[in-house]
């Protein structure tokens, strides 16, 4: 409906009420033209494209439940004596922050469930982001024009880690307090500025009275605010770039095949929101998380074994746990490498994955737009790097839980620590090589399938007694999927000497780039696609079995 038609209907008689309200709003907000161009946006359908949605919905759930929690939580480190309804804590001195968390758990209606939904949703949120990030990585969805959106996403992941960490610290229980103590150690380990920074952040000696209120502001206002902004920007960019799609018949770099945003995609997305909410609520209803009443209030003179952070920080915990406790003492100063090196490696590992898209596009010299996703096997080097990164990451997670692996698998914690130290360096290399081999194997199989068809499982006996398996040729669509990818030539440096016979001066970066490029497209790193001639030759009839 456009404005003119509305005008004519009003002359004859009143338009329906809803329409009039919509019209009134549209006259002032211009929603219609905005909606018209966007409502029919197309979204391709694939379950892995919904991982970002899982992250989005768990974020919304976190915000909703978090608002409820702020109504009852007191971010104060003033000491009180507990007399509430949890008997084993009676008479214990604790901070108001801890007391109010106990109250939320035992005395606020629905408090415990909301707390658990909030915390479970946070774990799922970070996990969903991580898996979403891996989906984007392995399919090459980060390529132009989506590099900036990749960075927005990466920032969301990192900020999510810190939002989670500050939130986890708020109840001021013995577990999270140990984590805050860990952070204090990290700050103190920074050469020169450490002790000043520590005083500044904690407002005095540890633990002081400031850190919980400060974390509270950071956790409920600062970080979520930034994340909300980034998230909106992220979604706008997804919208603006349009979603990528997997290769398939009729899908090109210049179109998007899928469902229109309205009504189909919206209906699905809305339904999916409630399903995610349902899953998280069920988990929160049946499984305990962070039972602060069993953990007890924080006191700097106490500590428990099995003190780990939430999983998304476990990687940092692992780095510190497996790092030998080296330190240097000179002129009354100590440099604590046991902590300093881990806190340098920690951002390095994260940044490695964040900058990968830029490195790849530089090496490949590829400045074109890409809207068709890669099948991971067709880019063995990238896939290998991604798996290597994951191996390094998860090896460190094992290191972070070394004590629990030790007790539950009857191993020595010392052996696990050594295993992790070695595996952190060796594991990614092995993973890289193995993944590349597997990718090439899969490429070979694809080629086989294209040329000889799919194994049908039917065994046929030929007149002369030979048994053969009947292969079914693939249909057109399947053939397209297996052969649509590009296989560019590796970058060439050109002749050593120029046309005048003078040795050309090559910059070191150029040589490096050529070398890396071979890593992507060199002979050993691609299985050449079947050519049209090969295909015709084999499928032409003779010699076909």
């Amino acid at each position: 409906m456009s404005n003119e038609t509305t005008a004519t209907t009003t002359r004859r008689g009143q338009a329906p009420r809803g329409e009039r309200i919509a019209d009134w709003a549209d006259g002032r907000l211009g929603i219609y033209s905005l909606a018209k161009s966007n409502m029919r946006k197309i979204f391709p359908d694939h379950w892995s494209f919904m991982l970002g949605e899982v992250a989005l919905y768990s974020f919304i759930i976190i915000i909703l439940t978090g608002v409820y929690l702020t109504l009852f939580f007191h971010p104060s480190m003033a000491e009180v004596t507990y007399h509430g309804s949890y008997v084993p804590m009676h008479g214990i001195r604790m901070t108001q922050a801890f007391e109010s968390t106990l109250n939320i758990s035992f005395d606020v209606r629905g408090g415990l469930l909301i707390r658990q939904i909030h915390h479970w949703a946070a774990l799922v949120f970070l996990a969903a982001m991580m898996v979403h990030m891996m989906r984007v990585f392995f399919t090459g969805a980060f390529r132009k024009p989506r590099e900036v959106n990749w960075l927005f996403g990466f920032l969301l992941f990192v900020l999510g880690m810190f939002t989670g960490f500050t939130g986890y610290s708020l109840p001021d229980d013995l577990l999270s307090g140990t984590g805050v103590r860990f952070i204090e150690g990290v700050i103190l380990a920074m050469p020169l500025v450490g002790s000043y920074l520590q005083m500044f952040i904690f407002g005095g000696e540890f633990p002081g009275h400031d850190i919980i209120p400060r974390f509270f502001t950071v956790h409920v206002l600062l970080l979520p605010g930034i994340m909300l902004g980034l998230l909106v920007a992220h979604l706008i960019l997804v919208f603006y770039h349009k979603h990528t799609q997997f290769p398939g018949a009729g899908k090109t770099n210049n179109n998007v095949v899928g469902m229109p945003l309205l009504p189909v995609y919206m209906a699905k997305a809305g339904g999916f929101f409630f399903l995610v909410f349902g899953v998280i609520s069920v988990i929160a209803a049946v499984a305990s998380i962070n039972p602060v009443w069993a953990i007890g209030p924080y006191r700097p003179d106490q500590v428990s074994t099995g003190a780990q952070p939430d999983w998304y920080m476990g990687f940092a915990e692992g780095l510190v746990r497996v790092m030998p406790g080296w330190e240097w003492n000179f002129w009354g100063h100590t440099i604590n490498f046991g902590v300093l090196i881990p806190i340098l490696v920690f951002p390095l590992v994260l940044v490695a994955i964040a900058v990968y898209p830029f490195i790849e596009s530089w090496v490949r010299g590829d400045k074109r737009e890409h809207h068709i996703l890669d099948r991971p096997r067709n880019v063995p080097t990238r896939t290998g790097f991604g798996v290597a990164w994951l191996v390094a990451y998860f090896v460190m997670l094992i290191g972070g839980g070394n004590d629990l692996w030790a007790t539950h698998f009857h191993l020595s914690i010392n052996s696990i620590t050594w295993f992790v130290r070695i595996a952190f360096f060796v594991g990614p290399v092995l993973a890289f090589i193995a993944t590349k081999r597997i990718c090439l194997g899969l490429q070979r199989r694809d080629k086989d399938k294209v040329l000889h068809g799919r194994e049908s499982g039917i065994i046929k006996r030929l007149p002369h007694g030979e048994f053969i398996e009947v292969h079914e040729p693939l249909n057109q669509e399947q053939l397209h999927v297996l052969t649509q990818h590009e296989q560019p030539e590796p970058l060439e440096l050109g002749p050593e000497v120029d046309e005048n016979g003078v040795r050309r001066k090559l910059k070191r970066t150029q040589k490096l780039r050529a070398k890396l490029s071979k890593g992507y497209y060199g002979e050993d790193n691609v299985i050449p696609k079947p050519t049209v001639e090969e295909y015709k030759e084999i499928t032409s009839g003779h010699g076909h079995h």
Partner: protein, 269 residues
């Protein structure tokens, strides 16, 4: 006189003196110590010691020596007290079996009367902590809150917040305290088995110990409620993270696959 001073240099002189000294101290000890005991001694007690000695000779002497003096396979039991035996045998740790990082808890092979006899025998070797009586470790008159605080200060660094256990170096571990008899908890504090330090009455008063036992009963007993739902082992964020990944994200992905499959593709067929 001359003869004697000449003999002083004899190679065996030292041995003679030593034997003499031993005889004297032994005689003195025999004269005083058992005399003390004899007063408290009733026939039942000495019978128990006698029976215990027999049991000990069969089950324990191979490692701890015939008089409990210790061998290369097991430490001396002189002065460990009845509480140590009651704990070690009652939890099935003793008699130890194959060597390993730590002697584990296992099924107890002695009945209560035999354990008492063994304990009586080992207690007769030298004074040590005796088996606590029920009033000492029952929850009556205990302050659970205080017990929790004491537990977090003294025990949680090895046994975890609520006694779910934890790792020590080189395969040694502080075991879970779930389902451990209150008496054995008390005795463990008294005697400090293996890699656990002992908490004598000077470190943790009998009332403190009682509070700790009561706290463990409240947070790690069979009747302990878990207000938040499944405990997931009570081990903290590692199991929570695993659970969140497998069941939280796992279920969301399963749902996503289901939703994505429900489209035109279904209509097409």
């Amino acid at each position: 006189m001359k003869k004697l001073s000449a003999r002083r240099r004899h190679p065996l002189a030292a041995l003679v003196v030593l034997l003499f000294a031993l005889a004297v101290t032994g005689g003195l000890y025999a004269a005083f110590a058992p005399a003390d005991k004899a007063q408290a001694d009733d026939t039942a007690q000495s019978l128990a010691i006698k029976e215990g000695k027999k049991l000990f000779a069969v089950g324990c002497a191979s490692c701890h020596g015939t008089g409990g003096q210790g061998t290369s396979d097991g430490p001396s039991l002189v002065g460990v007290g009845a509480a140590a035996v009651d704990f070690q045998v009652g939890t099935g740790r003793m008699p130890a079996q194959q060597p390993g990082a730590q002697v584990p808890r296992k099924r107890n092979i002695y009945n209560n009367a035999q354990i008492d006899q063994l304990a009586a025998y080992v207690a007769s070797l030298g004074p040590g902590p005796s088996v606590p009586d029920k009033a000492q470790y029952s929850a009556d008159g205990a302050d659970i809150g205080k017990g929790g605080e004491l537990f977090r200060t003294n025990c949680a660094q090895c046994h975890n917040f609520t006694g779910k256990g934890g790792a020590l170096t080189n395969g040694k571990f502080a075991p879970t305290l779930e389902g451990v008899d209150p008496k054995h908890i008390y005795e463990a504090m008294q005697t400090g088995p293996q890699n656990m330090p002992s908490f004598g009455d000077g470190t943790l008063s009998p009332q403190n110990k009682k509070d700790i036992v009561a706290y463990l009963g409240a947070v790690n007993g069979d009747k302990t409620a878990s207000p938040g739902g499944m405990e997931l082992g009570g081990l903290g964020p590692v199991t929570e993270g695993l659970f969140g990944y497998i069941f939280g994200l796992g279920a969301c992905v399963a749902v996503a696959i289901w939703v994505a499959a429900r489209t035109t593709k279904a209509k097409k067929s």
